[in-house]
């Protein structure tokens, strides 16, 4: 069963951990764990398919089933829809970070990382970065499908770059919230309903699929002022030329604010798990 010759050899090599500064290890450990999460994207093909197929179904559902009954001002419904679908996809996609964090907790991987001389909280950064890549892929697919069903964007190349930047900024912010959710939920099962409870109202009580003007007052006030609507309206303005107003600034401030609060809080929760 065992190869005893190599077994007895195993301590004869001298293997010494390298000595470097703390900052060096923060960068290297983070990079190693980012690579790990990136490998997951293409190895977990079921997840990848789910993340692409679900939004395509939504796109077709709203474009052809509900779309005929929804009135939008200034542009066609399919043009209106794409920004909403993109942000909804990003929001639900961010929950993958929660799932991955909860799974790492459940499987004892975070426990193991904490017993290593590693900057272990970098495991979350890994999942967040993988989320950005995954989201870029599914957004790309989404826009292609949109073009097939009549989406006619007016954005210039420069505007597309801003759109991508805003999408990544939003995903990054939400993904850190998702990491916090994963740490709190602890199990994949509770992530599923907790995440749904958080993301579902935020994406549907917004201007993602229908203009807010038709909503009852209380809902309309919420929908018009919550961050996701601002992000969607900015994207829409850039893509198809609807009025931008202050949406761009407000959306950016929300995202940056969330990032500033969420990262230290995630790191704090991650450490706190240790002393429990």
């Amino acid at each position: 069963m065992m190869n005893s010759q190599t077994a007895t050899q195993h301590q004869t090599h001298t293997i010494n951990p390298q000595q470097h500064s703390k900052l060096y290890w923060i960068i290297v450990d983070t990079w190693v764990l980012i690579l790990r999460s990136l490998k997951h994207i293409f190895k977990n093909t079921d997840q990848l398919m789910g993340l692409v197929i679900q939004p395509i179904m939504f796109m077709l559902l709203f474009r052809y089933v509900f779309g005929g009954a929804i009135q939008t001002e200034g542009t066609t419904y399919v043009n209106y829809l794409v920004a909403g679908i993109l942000i909804q996809t990003a929001a639900f996609g961010a929950l993958t970070t929660s799932m991955s964090v909860a799974q790492d907790l459940q499987r004892g991987i975070i426990e193991r990382l904490k017993s290593l001389p590693t900057i272990s909280s970098a495991v979350m950064t890994g999942h967040v970065v993988a989320d950005l890549v995954r989201n870029t892929i599914s957004s790309f697919v989404m826009i292609l499908v949109g073009l097939l069903v009549g989406f006619r964007p007016t954005a210039t190349f420069r505007e597309w770059i801003i759109i991508l930047g805003l999408l990544l900024l939003f995903t990054f912010a939400l993904s850190w919230i998702a990491a916090i959710l994963g740490l709190i939920a602890r199990t994949v099962e509770s992530v599923q309903w907790l995440g749904f409870l958080l993301i579902f109202p935020l994406t549907f009580a917004s201007s993602a699929f229908v203009p807010t003007s038709g909503m009852p007052t209380v809902l309309r006030v919420f929908a018009e002022n919550q961050p996701i609507t601002h992000v969607i309206e900015s994207m829409r303005a850039l893509m198809v030329g609807t009025p931008m107003n202050n949406h761009g600034w407000i959306a950016s401030i929300w995202c940056i604010g969330i990032i500033i609060v969420a990262i230290p809080f995630a790191a704090y929760l991650f450490r706190k798990h240790q002393t429990r």
Partner: protein, 336 residues
């Protein structure tokens, strides 16, 4: 004078290097109101295996989690490889390998990718990580599965990969939390083999187990813990001798002879079972005692079906030790 000073220096040096790689003094830990550890004292000598033996919830895993810096003790002094687990957690982490209760391997990565990643996270160079991964894959009989994702591995393979992952940086100290729980007999034997090889390579090992056989087979010393306290500690032989002597068990051939046989034997502390026609007699490690017993039976013309010597097992030790405590608790409760 100088000679004396030098001599004392050596003495002090020896005292500091007292060969204990792991020391635990007065360790306590509570989770809320639940007291999990209530003053644990333990030493593990360099290059030996200590088994922490105890039922579920005794505090075995909590002890391992404290030793591996995952949780912070409430009170007490704990050092690993000479480093304090609270004050010098990073140094401790650089000296240990931990294999927890679940196989904490990345399912989506291949066996090789898992090991190489662990090498990098232990801060080995890329080349060293690659080389160690190859060595460990060979050592743990995983070469054929090296390029497959860990998701496809059997339970035994996962455990082996998990243990291999904790050995990437050849740590001098290895913690194994229930390393064979849930493994089939063949995989368990393979795991025991690996653990013995580790010890042969001079690693200091602390393992927890619920299996007495495992502790008996692997450990140099065994600490029995129950409800957060060490209730017995020593070699397997020490513990067995605490429970007592060997017993000689005789099976009388004919049922009608049984009462006669019991009378003829006539020794104190004899256990009899009329249905199975067995008599069990304590003997004190003396072969002539066995002969005496047989002579006595022959004189009484009693036919003996079979006889056997029963050494106390660790099960006896464990049941006796934990049973005594339960008994003591009951008495205490009644007197209240």
């Amino acid at each position: 004078m100088q000679i004396y000073a030098g001599f004392f220096c050596i003495l002090r040096y020896n005292k500091k290097m007292n060969n204990n790689t792991i020391t635990i003094r007065g360790l306590t830990k509570s989770f809320g109101k639940l007291k999990v550890l209530e003053g644990i004292n333990l030493n593990v000598e360099q290059g030996t295996i200590l088994a922490l033996l105890g039922p579920n919830g005794a505090g075995k895993t909590t002890t391992v989690r404290i030793l591996s810096t995952l949780i912070i003790p409430d009170d007490g002094e704990v050092t690993v490889n000479g480093y304090d687990v609270v004050e010098q957690a990073d140094e401790v982490r650089g000296s240990i390998g931990l294999t927890g209760q679940y196989a904490a391997v990345d399912e989506y990565l291949t066996g090789q990718e898992n090991l190489e990643m662990m090498g990098r996270l232990y801060h080995l160079s890329k080349a060293d990580s690659k080389r160690r991964a190859q060595e460990l894959l060979q050592q743990f009989d995983l070469v054929d599965a090296a390029a497959r994702s860990a998701k496809t591995y059997s339970g035994g393979m996962r455990r082996r990969l998990d243990l291999a992952a904790s050995l990437v940086a050849t740590p001098p100290i290895v913690f194994l939390d229930e390393p064979t729980t849930g493994l089939d007999p063949r995989s368990r034997l393979a795991m025991w083999d690996i653990i013995q090889q580790l010890r042969a390579n001079n690693a200091t090992i602390l393992l927890t187990t619920q299996y007495l056989e495992e502790a008996d087979k692997l450990a140099d010393r065994i600490a029995v813990i129950d409800r957060g306290q060490v209730i017995a500690e020593g070699t397997a032989a020490d513990l067995k001798s605490q429970v007592g002597e060997e017993r000689l068990v005789l099976v009388v051939a004919k049922e009608s002879h049984f009462d006669l046989a019991v009378k003829a034997m006539n020794v104190p502390d004899m256990q009899i079972n009329a249905v199975e026609r067995t008599m069990s007699i304590a003997i004190k490690k003396n072969v002539s005692e066995v002969k005496q017993v047989l002579d006595r039976m022959e004189q009484a013309h009693i036919e003996i079906d079979s006889l056997s010597l029963h050494k106390p097992t660790l099960d006896d030790v464990f049941l006796r030790l934990t049973g005594d405590r339960e008994l003591a608790d009951n008495v205490q409760n009644k007197s209240k």
